[in-house]
């Protein structure tokens, strides 16, 4: 759900390739099979374009909204090293939004439309950012584990078929490695610190575990649509696949620090090699994503504040003769 393809229930009736020119479609699919990238002005099926716009746009929104929970502690980071690193980290997230909005724009949706849709609730962003960062330790958990989840998603998607999205993700991933290291370092300091620090980080982990389990989205329903999106390299892995990869890599690292994950059923099945866990409450996930989370309202209000307060700056410099062109790449 962090910029992963999902099926719109309204699309269900028709096939994703209905009405497409079969010759062009075959060429398009052959190109993807050969491992070549699709570039902005190439012919592409309408469903490919639509799905990618939705996915990249949501990813961009997740970055700009994601700057808010971590920004919560930007004025309170303890010590120069953390203060500067958190500023740089949140700045990078804003930068990721910049890169992703730009990639989505090449598909024909303007940044204005995307931001309007975000603020008016027509377009979603990652569910996790609707939860509050209650203490400094929450920012540490976010920077480590939410970014870890994001990296799994982003590395996977960077092998997709759409050129501009892959290019943006490559740069993003190189910055994410700093986020991950910073986050881990931060958690390690808390977990190996004073009793109070340890308690802070354990509490934060308890608060964030469900959002983390929600991060990659509910298990995908197997459908023809999913198959097509995978063939088109829009969807590069199932939500569960990415969740398993996350658990595989990070649960042991969490346990290394002697922290407790608040799920008694969490374990790797020795014989099957599959992670077993308590299925998180997907009803809560749906509720939160549809607007009823602890911070949805504030997040969008803040975004609206930023856009409204910046309006005079943008309008002052807007020249009457300017004309919109879709960026090249």
């Amino acid at each position: 759900m962090y910029g992963n393809a999902q099926i719109d229930s309204k699309d269900k009736a028709k096939s994703l390739t209905d009405g497409e020119d079969p010759i062009k479609l075959a060429e398009f699919e052959a190109r993807i099979t050969r491992g070549e990238k699709i570039e902005p002005k190439d012919w592409m099926p309408a469903a490919y374009r639509k799905q990618l716009i939705r996915m990249i746009e949501q990813h961009a929104h997740s970055e700009i909204i994601g700057a808010l929970p971590e920004g919560t502690w930007i004025t309170r980071a303890p010590g120069f090293r953390r203060k500067l690193a958190l500023m740089a980290k949140v700045q990078d997230e804003v930068g990721h939004a910049q890169l992703l909005y730009s990639a989505a724009e090449t598909l024909g949706k303007t940044r204005e439309d995307m931001i309007n849709d975000l603020i008016n609730g027509k377009s979603k962003y990652s569910n996790v950012f609707n939860y509050p960062a209650m203490t400094w330790a929450d920012t540490a958990i976010i920077a480590w584990l939410i970014d870890a989840g994001a990296i799994i998603n982003q590395v996977t998607n960077s092998k997709g078929s759409y050129g501009p999205y892959c290019r943006a993700l490559e740069r993003i991933c190189s910055e994410e490695s700093f986020h991950l290291k910073y986050g881990h370092d931060n958690v390690v300091f808390l977990a190996t610190g004073t009793a109070q620090q340890r308690e802070m980080v354990q509490d934060a982990l308890n608060r964030w575990w469900i959002p983390i389990m929600h991060f990659h989205g509910p298990p995908d329903k197997v459908s023809q649509h999913t198959e097509v999106l995978m063939k088109w390299k829009v969807k590069m892995a199932t939500n569960d696949d990415m969740r398993y990869r996350f658990l595989d890599e990070y649960v042991p690292k969490i346990w290394d620090l002697g922290l407790t994950i608040p799920d008694p059923n969490l374990k790797k099945n020795e014989t099957t090699g599959v992670w077993e866990y308590t299925e998180p409450d997907w009803e809560e996930f749906k509720r939160v994503i549809n607007g009823d989370g602890p911070c949805n309202k504030e997040r969008l209000q803040v975004r609206r504040w930023a856009e409204e307060k910046g309006a005079w700056v943008r309008r002052a410099l807007l020249k009457a003769e300017s004309k919109y062109t879709i960026p090249l790449a």
Binding site: I74, P78, M87, W136, Q196, V302, W312, V313, L317
Partner: protein, 256 residues
């Protein structure tokens, strides 16, 4: 350095005031992160904030080498009365016009100060001034571009920028509050004095404001807001410092 006690005191006070200004304005600017008028500008403004805080940290480290506490303790545990920052940097971020104009006025003073310090007799300071020359230059370029463009873009932006200038100018004059140790610093060839700096600053900003169609207040109306260098601050500084040190002060023995 073979400075006597008073001389060392003079040097420390001088360093504190530069670093405190940078820390506070950098902290204030960081509040814009994620809230800027355009994502690209958000990124640029955050970099400027980071630069300022990084420079402050470096100066605190020089102070540490002169026997003061370490940089984190200096920045995150002192109370307002111990700060030597001017009032200009302490005020809340306001709207973007205010924050831009504050930066414009501050950055020019800082750039000229650093230029002067590049030849300072205090070697670590001279080195520092040279090292950050490029950072500071970008900060003034950024401010000049915005002020020049918004000053003359349309009626609203012009009015906003003029109001911001009127609101910040006397505060900015507070940057140049003279120290009781000015003569010592001059004799030691460390810094020629705030008067010289202010003179050069007016020289630098006057043509830029003219190009921006903004009017500098008449010199007869100048009323510098002093006090910051002596530890008297606006009502905003203490809560800001409490906020900044909130986590750090949770447990003074903890490592974060």
């Amino acid at each position: 350095m073979n400075y006597n006690e008073t001389q060392i005191k003079a040097v420390k006070e001088f360093l504190y005031k530069i670093a405190d200004d940078q820390l506070i304005i950098g902290h204030r600017n960081s509040e814009w992160t994620g809230l800027g008028p355009l994502v690209e500008e958000d990124i640029a403004f955050s970099s400027i904030a980071q630069d300022k805080i990084g420079q402050a940290q470096h100066i605190y480290e020089i102070l540490h080498s002169l026997g003061e506490a370490d940089a984190d303790t200096i920045a995150f545990t002192r109370n307002a009365a111990a700060f030597k920052s001017c009032h200009l940097v302490e005020l809340p971020i306001g709207e973007y016009d205010f924050s831009l104009m504050r930066n414009f006025l501050f950055n020019h003073a800082e750039q000229i100060r650093f230029d002067m310090l590049a030849n300072s007799g205090l070697e670590p300071l001279a080195k520092l001034a040279k090292k950050y020359r490029g950072e500071v230059k970008y900060h003034t370029m950024h401010a000049n571009t915005w002020v020049r463009q918004l000053g003359k873009a349309n009626e609203e932006s012009h009015a906003r920028m003029q109001t911001a200038l009127n609101d910040t100018f006397n505060l900015a004059l507070g940057i140049f509050e003279e120290s009781e140790f000015a003569d010592i610093l001059k004799d030691l060839n460390i810094f020629p004095g705030e008067k010289v700096l202010q003179y050069k600053w007016i020289e630098a900003i006057t043509p830029l404001l003219e190009q921006s169609m903004l009017v500098l207040p008449e010199s007869s109306a100048w009323q510098p807001v002093y006090g910051g260098r002596k530890g008297f601050h606006t009502e905003y500084l203490e809560p800001m410092l409490e906020e900044m040190g909130e986590v750090f002060r949770l447990d003074p023995k903890a490592e974060w």
